[in-house]
C-alpha cells in the first residue's frame, strides 16, 4: 500500500463502501480517495465491482454500508441529479447516448444544468475540436454513429457539464486498438489540463499508461493498489490483466 498523496483533503472519499444486490455483495469495504487533479484507474475483470463503485458515487445505488463523501460532505441523502449539480460527471458504460436525438442535442443536454450560454458555446466548440468527427456529424441522430463515435459523444457530453471530477465507465470497451489509443490521448490531455478523472477500465495496460495510480478490484475487494508505475511492474497484475 502506498500512502495517500500529501496535500489537501480529498475531493472524493469512499470509506468502507459496501454494496449488495440482493444476496450478492458486489463491492466490499472499499476505501478510495480521489484528490483534485488526479487520474485514478479503477481496474479489474468483468463483475469485479468497478461500475458498482461509480454507480454508488452517482447515487444510482444505495450503499449497504460505508460512506461516499464529496469535499467532506456525505452524498447519501442526495439524488443522482444533485451529484451532477455538485460537479460529479459520470459517463456510463455502454455508450449510453440518446440514440433518437441528434449529436448536437446530446451535447446540449450535457450542459442541461448550466445557464452560462456563452461559456456553453465555447465548450461546444472545444468539444468539436477535441472530437472533429462529431463536428462533421452534428446534425445526425446519435444512434446512427459508429461505436467509436458514440463513445466520443458520450465523453464529450459529460465534458459539456463541466464536471470537477469525470468518472468514465469502460470507455475503451469494444473499440479498435487504434481508437483506444486516440481516446487515451484525449484523456491524458484533459488530465494535463487539470481535470480530475476516475477511470474504470478492464484494459489495465491502456489505463495505467496514463494514470497516476491505480486500484485493482477482484470480486468486490481491493486486490492491489499503488502508483501506475508500480502496478505495471507487479507480477500478479501482469499475470492476471496484462497477459504477460
Amino acid at each position: 500500500m502506498t500512502p495517500a498523496p500529501p496535500g489537501p483533503a480529498p475531493l472524493l472519499a469512499l470509506r468502507g463502501l459496501t454494496i449488495r444486490y440482493g444476496a450478492i455483495e458486489a463491492l466490499s469495504n472499499l476505501d478510495l480517495d480521489i484528490h483534485s487533479g488526479e487520474l485514478v484507474a479503477l481496474l479489474g475483470a468483468n463483475g469485479a465491482g468497478k461500475s458498482t463503485a461509480l454507480r454508488a458515487i452517482s447515487r444510482l445505488v444505495d450503499a449497504a454500508a460505508g460512506t461516499v463523501e464529496w469535499k467532506g460532505r456525505p452524498l447519501a441523502a442526495l439524488s443522482t441529479e444533485a451529484t451532477v449539480r455538485l460537479g460529479i460527471g459520470h459517463c456510463p458504460e455502454g455508450r449510453r447516448v440518446l440514440a433518437r436525438q441528434s449529436v448536437a442535442t446530446n451535447l446540449e443536454l450535457g450542459a442541461f444544468l448550466r445557464r452560462d450560454t456563452k461559456a456553453i458555446q465555447t465548450d461546444l466548440d472545444w468539444c468539436y475540436s477535441l472530437f472533429p468527427r462529431l463536428a462533421d456529424r452534428r446534425r445526425q441522430l446519435a444512434g446512427s454513429l459508429s461505436g467509436g463515435e458514440q463513445q466520443m459523444l458520450a465523453i464529450a457530453r459529460s465534458l459539456m457539464g463541466r464536471p470537477e471530477v469525470l468518472m468514465l465507465d469502460e470507455p475503451s470497451l469494444g473499440l479498435a486498438p487504434r481508437l483506444v489509443e486516440d481516446l487515451m490521448a484525449v484523456l491524458r490531455d484533459l488530465h494535463s489540463q487539470g481535470l480530475t478523472i476516475l477511470l474504470v477500465e478492464q484494459n489495465a495496460l491502456a489505463a495505467l499508461a496514463i494514470a497516476d495510480r491505480g486500484v485493482v478490484l477482484e470480486a468486490g475487494s481491493v486486490r492491489l493498489r499503488g502508483s501506475a508505475t508500480a502496478l505495471l511492474s507487479d507480477d500478479h497484475l501482469r499475470a492476471s490483466y496484462l497477459g504477460s
Binding site: T80, V84, P92, R96, L98, R100, Q101, E108, L109, G161
Partner: protein, 314 residues
C-alpha cells in the same frame, strides 16, 4: 353544389371535430406513455373534471341530485377563461393522480399492469366523487357562451358549427405547440431524454421525477380542455361520460402508434371520420364501427399507423 357533396362535407367536418377531441385525448396519453411506458387510465376522469369545472366556472348551477344541490359559484367567467382554468384544475388533479397512483408503485418498481389498475382506480374514485357532489344528471353549457361568435358558419354549402371549428383549431394549435416544445425547448428535450433513457437523463442532471410530473400536468391539462370543449359542443352526459371518451382515446393512441405525437393526432382524425361515416339512422352503432375499424387496422398494422419500429422498455 350538389347536396351529395354538401352532405359529404358535413360528414367530414363532424368527423374532424370529434376526431380532434380524440386526438387531444390521445396526446395526453402519449405524453405520459412516452416518459413512463405506461397508460394513465385516470385520463378519462380528468376529462370529466375539465367538463364539470368549465360548467361551474361559467356560473352553471348544480342540479337537485348531488350533495352540492343548488350550489353555484358567485362568478360567471367567460367561456375561454373558464376552459383554461378547468384545464389547470385537471392538471392539478393529474399531479395528484401521479402522486397517489403512480409514484408509490414506481418507487417499488411495480409491474406495468399494476399502474393500469391503480390509475383506473383513481379515475373511478374521481368520477364517483363528481357524482356524489354533482349528481348523475346531464348538464349543458349554453350555446351563447362563445360570445359574439356566430353559432355556425357555411363552408362549401355545409353548415359547420363554430364550436366544431374551435375544436379543430385547438387540436391543431396543441399539436404544433407541443411538437415545437418537445423538439425545440430545453425542457422538451429533457422530457424526451427521460423517455428514451431515464438513467442517462439523470446522469445529465435532469430531474426525471420532475419531468414525469410535468408530463402528468400537461396531459391532465389537455384532458381537461378537451372535456370543457365537448361539454360545449355536445353536453355533459353525466360523470361517467369521460370514461367512454377515455377508452376511445386509448384506441386512438394504439391506432396511431404508441408514443408518437403525430400518430395520436392522425389516429384521432381517422377514428372520428370513421364514426361520422356511419349513417344517422345507424348512429347507435357508431362505437361498434369505430372499434371494428380499429381492430381491422391493427390486424394489418400491429404497430399502429405511425408506430416506431420497436419501443422496448426494460
Amino acid at each position: 353544389m350538389s347536396s351529395g357533396v354538401e352532405h359529404l362535407l358535413q360528414v367530414l367536418f363532424n368527423g374532424l371535430a370529434s376526431g380532434a377531441v380524440y386526438a387531444l385525448f390521445a396526446l395526453g396519453y402519449t405524453l405520459v406513455f412516452s416518459v413512463l411506458g405506461v397508460i394513465n387510465f385516470a385520463q378519462g376522469a380528468l376529462f370529466t373534471l375539465g367538463a364539470y369545472f368549465t360548467y361551474l366556472l361559467i356560473g352553471g348551477a348544480v342540479g337537485s341530485n348531488g350533495a352540492l344541490a343548488g350550489f353555484q359559484l358567485p362568478l360567471a367567467l367567460p367561456f375561454w377563461l373558464a376552459l383554461l382554468l378547468a384545464g389547470a384544475g385537471a392538471a392539478g388533479m393529474g399531479l395528484l393522480v401521479e402522486a397517489t397512483a403512480f409514484a408509490p408503485l414506481r418507487q417499488r418498481r411495480a409491474e406495468p399492469l399494476l399502474f393500469l389498475i391503480s390509475s383506473l382506480g383513481a379515475g373511478v374514485v374521481i368520477v364517483n366523487g363528481v357524482q356524489l357532489l354533482m349528481g348523475a344528471e346531464s348538464y349543458s353549457i349554453p350555446a351563447g357562451s362563445l360570445g359574439r361568435l356566430p353559432a355556425a358558419v357555411l363552408i362549401g354549402g355545409a353548415q359547420v358549427r363554430t364550436v366544431q371549428l374551435l375544436l379543430m383549431a385547438v387540436a391543431a394549435v396543441v399539436l404544433v405547440v407541443l411538437t415545437l416544445w418537445l423538439e425545440g425547448s430545453r425542457l422538451g428535450k429533457a422530457l424526451q431524454a427521460v423517455s428514451e433513457d431515464p438513467v442517462t437523463a439523470r446522469l445529465l442532471g435532469i430531474d426525471a421525477g420532475a419531468m414525469i410530473r410535468l408530463a402528468f400536468a400537461l396531459s391532465g391539462f389537455l384532458a381537461g380542455v378537451a372535456g370543457g370543449l365537448v361539454a360545449l359542443s355536445v353536453s355533459i352526459a353525466g360523470p361517467y361520460f369521460g370514461i367512454g371518451f377515455g377508452l376511445k382515446g386509448l384506441g386512438v393512441l394504439v391506432l396511431g402508434g404508441l408514443g408518437s405525437v403525430p400518430g395520436a393526432m392522425l389516429g384521432g382524425l381517422v377514428v372520428g371520420l370513421a364514426e361520422a361515416l356511419v349513417p344517422a339512422e345507424f348512429s347507435g352503432y357508431k362505437d361498434g364501427v369505430a372499434y371494428g375499424f380499429l381492430f381491422l387496422v391493427l390486424l394489418l398494422r400491429p404497430r399502429g399507423l405511425l408506430g416506431k419500429a420497436t419501443v422496448s422498455k426494460v
